[in-house]
């Protein structure tokens, strides 16, 4: 196999796997037919066309998702990009903080997960990066989670991103991963707050004297980031596995919508972002659950009347 053919086959990875299985050989051999004598690298124009056509195929494949998930995917993407924009603006005002890395990872999940085929690996990498960075940022112990639990979980998720045999095992512990992720997200937010609000008198520092308002402020994100991912997983696990990754898309904005507010320097702690992200979560999940059910209800009615 020539180097040129190898490079074309590498570019063909832009296409979804089912399309590659059927068309890769004929497209690659046509590309080789068109290639000039002595050509060593893919032409720029051909390479761009392959990537665009491949991504277009993936978008087309995602249209097979049910309408609720499509709408939710668009909503999640919109919210995620809005939050990412906000994070970039904040990052321009102060040194880049560690929270941007999981934010970018989850942004990638939201963007790639919507297109289907690469969602599995992206989701695992995002999970792994989130867990790892929480450990780095938050120290040896936080919210009852110890490194002895988080490190194996992170290693496992990193391995599963690259190793085929572990995928089945990953499937079996998807719920556990969801719970860990939920706790981790809550912990990440808490860790960010702890880092930013260093004033010893502030109720936002862990060791400070807490009042009911700060307790609620801590509990709300915890509940949000545990309960909603679990609810989303519970919904999707009854269906196909790919919907788990749609759930990852849905949960991403919950984190990124709230995080930039919490890491604002010199700002007053507020529950507002929690309410905003809670409202968004409720709205998106209502769409996800409601639209397919409504559609199924209509189909059932049509069957009965037919």
């Amino acid at each position: 196999m020539s180097k040129l053919e190898l490079q074309y086959r590498w570019l063909m990875r832009a296409y979804p796997s089912n399309h590659r299985a059927r068309h890769e050989d004929e497209i690659v051999f046509t590309l080789l037919d068109v290639a000039t004598d002595g050509q060593r690298r893919p032409r720029f124009r051909e390479a761009v066309a392959i990537v665009i056509a491949g991504l277009a195929c993936r978008v087309q494949d995602s249209s097979e998702l049910n309408p609720g998930l499509r709408i939710a995917g668009v909503a999640a993407l919109t919210a995620t990009f809005a939050a990412a924009t906000m994070a970039v603006v904040l990052a321009a005002q102060r040194p880049i903080e560690i929270g941007l890395v999981p934010l970018i990872a989850w942004l990638a999940v939201a963007a790639v997960g919507f297109f289907g085929a690469w969602a599995t690996s992206t989701y695992r990498l995002a999970s792994a990066s989130t867990l790892t960075l929480i450990m780095v940022a938050a120290g040896p112990s936080m919210m009852g989670l110890r490194r002895s639990i988080l490190i194996p979980a992170a290693v496992f998720l990193v391995l599963s991103a690259f190793s085929r045999p572990t995928r089945r095992l990953v499937r079996s512990v998807a719920v556990l991963a969801g719970v860990l992720l939920g706790l981790a997200h809550g912990a990440f937010i808490s860790a960010s707050m702890n880092e930013v609000f260093q004033d010893a008198d502030s109720p936002w520092v862990y060791d400070a004297q807490w009042d009911i308002a700060s307790d609620m402020a801590m509990i709300n994100p915890g509940l949000l980031f545990v309960v909603w991912p679990m609810a989303a997983l519970a919904v999707v696990l009854r269906r196909q596995l790919r919907y788990v990754f749609a759930a990852a898309v849905l949960t991403a904005p919950f984190v990124v919508l709230a995080a930039p507010f919490f890491v604002l320097p010199h700002s007053t702690p507020t529950n507002f972002p929690v309410y905003v992200s809670g409202f968004t979560a409720t709205l998106v999940l209502a769409i996800v659950i409601g639209v397919p059910w409504r559609q199924r209800h209509r189909l059932d009615q049509a069957d009965r009347s037919g």
């Binding site: 004929e26 051999f29 046509t30 590309l31 066309a49 392959i50």
Partner: protein, 127 residues
Amino acid sequence: MQPDLYSRFVNISELHFSTLTALAAKPLHGYGILQEIDAITSGRSKPAVATLYRTLDRLAAEGLVEEDSTEIVDGRFRRTYRLTESGISLLSEEAAARASTARLAKRRLRKRASDPGSINGIVGGLA
């Protein structure tokens, strides 16, 4: 010809039209279609390979082309495509519509050239 089929393709793109035209005479594989398009358009249109296959996908999804055969030539896999009945109907309708538009355009250009009130008419008269 189903009217709804034509109405869906009433804004048929040049590449769709060229691809259907390339397949009008006989079934061809991808490289053959590219060569035919090059000949039909006198080299004006040189679609990228991936773009051509995306077009073939769309035409196949609309039932206008279909797979004819597969073979291996010089160790290279080839899939040939042919027009379906719907594809033949659409191509003949589109060709007729384009020919009609082309005739009209020529007629208007001739009229414009011969009209003494127009710039071209004046220039033509002076010449």
